[in-house]
């Protein structure tokens, strides 16, 4: 796939970015401004394609209802005038409304009921270690949920329960931290593999 010019450009940009580790310098800044310009240009083109595909083509084909989002979209740009800036509230409102609609649909099922159902675990009739693990799971789920109760002061027995929830969350945070270390190192390894093997053509 990769022609030599691409490999060289990639290698040069990679080194420019990594030079940030020494200190912030003109090479790094050059790469930074390049990627900001490139990303914005890239996404603008993709967005334009979406507008044409989802908005204009069907509109021309007779789907006149698409005039509505077109108007709302144009209203977004009213922020550049002082007098009509409030018009952009209409487009914000539509975006918020759609976002909320999408969100409630997904959260009720996949996030609320599915997770509750997944916690209904057997404790009897399974090997003892599974039973203990399932019991621990149920206790942590329940106490984590109770940790987030706003209207009750954590005192006495309730405090003990929320404490268990906190411990569970500490495990979760630690676990995410640990796995994140892996991904980040892998990104670095990937870039180094590229520099060593595809650019410098060393053999491992």
């Amino acid at each position: 796939m990769a022609d030599a010019s691409l490999v060289w450009l990639s290698a040069i940009f990679t080194i420019m970015v990594l030079s940030f580790l020494y200190k912030e310098n003109p090479f790094y800044r050059f790469a930074e401004y390049t990627v900001i310009g490139a990303a914005t240009g890239y996404w603008t083109v993709m967005a334009a394609k979406n507008i044409v595909d989802a908005g204009i083509t069907p509109l021309v084909a007779g789907s006149y209802v698409l005039l509505i989002p077109a108007i709302f979209s144009v209203l977004m740009f009213s922020r550049y005038t002082k007098r009509y800036a409030w018009l952009s509230r209409y487009s914000v409102a539509l975006m918020v409304g759609i976002g909320i609609g999408l969100s409630v649909r997904t959260y009720i099922h996949a996030q609320f009921t599915e997770q509750i159902v997944a916690t209904m675990l057997p404790v009897v009739g399974v090997p003892w270690y599974t039973a203990i693990n399932n019991l621990i799971s149920i206790i942590i789920v329940v106490s984590t949920v109770l940790f987030f109760i706003f209207t009750r002061e954590p005192k006495g027995g309730f405090k003990v329960i929320t404490q268990i929830g906190r411990i569970g969350m500490m495990f979760f945070f630690g676990a995410t931290f640990g796995t994140t270390v892996t991904t980040r190192m892998i990104y670095l390894i990937g870039r180094l593999q590229f520099l060593l093997f595809e650019w410098l053509k060393l053999s491992g």
Partner: protein
């Protein structure tokens, strides 16, 4: 005028299942902007998702208007869209933090991999940090490094707490009721499963 306050909603999706997190961040921003207007502090908002540009401008403008400080509202200096590419945004935001020597870094919204870098950069400058997201996987970095962290659901309650609006506070009671319901369902369902009846499971699955 002292050192400025930096605010961001991270990835800041709006037309998306994680849109409400951005809305929750905006509720906090509304309050924050009133405070900075009142105290004549400089406020800087960096943006990754252009969807939130008009919303952010509306929120901050309204806050400054409410405080009678319309003349201090300067959108081109306060509200900076940096890039919609994650890494380009991050390096831009870090640049802003360094140049402006921010005193506080407030991050509430849907956060992705940018979390760690923003927190590290702000910590390097020595800013006070408040973080909050319902994207649980990036919460770990906030919990480990921020001075104050809003864990998951708490970001949705933050706006209500700050506003002290009785209706909003009342709805927090409703939120608690649903959490109790979840606990009851889990316990009851587990008991039923252990008695050999998966009825509640199948009932909820439909």
């Amino acid at each position: 005028m002292g050192r400025p306050v930096h605010f961001t909603t991270g990835m800041g999706f709006l037309v998306h299942a994680e849109g409400p997190q951005t809305v929750a961040g905006m509720a906090v921003l509304g309050h924050l902007a009133r405070l900075t207007a009142r105290m004549k502090a400089k406020l800087i908002i960096t943006i990754m998702n252009p969807e939130t540009i008009p919303m952010t401008e509306a929120v901050v403008e309204a806050a400054y208007k409410a405080e009678g400080k319309e003349e201090d509202y300067k959108p081109t200096e306060m509200i900076l869209f940096l890039s919609s590419s994650q890494q380009a945004y991050v390096s831009g935001a870090i640049g802003v933090m360094h140049r402006e020597k921010i005193a506080a870094n407030i991050m509430i919204g849907p956060f992705f991999a940018e979390t760690l870098q923003l927190i590290e950069a702000a910590a390097y400058i020595g800013a006070i940090q408040v973080g909050g997201t319902a994207r649980t996987m990036n919460l770990a970095f906030m919990a480990a490094a921020c001075d104050y962290t809003l864990l998951g659901e708490e970001i949705f309650a933050a706006g209500a707490y700050i506003s002290q609006d009785p209706v909003l506070l009342g709805s927090l009671v409703g939120q608690d009721l649903f959490k109790y319901l979840a606990v009851i369902l889990v316990v009851l369902g587990s008991i039923l499963v252990n008695l050999g009846s998966p009825i509640l499971r199948s009932l909820l699955r439909t």
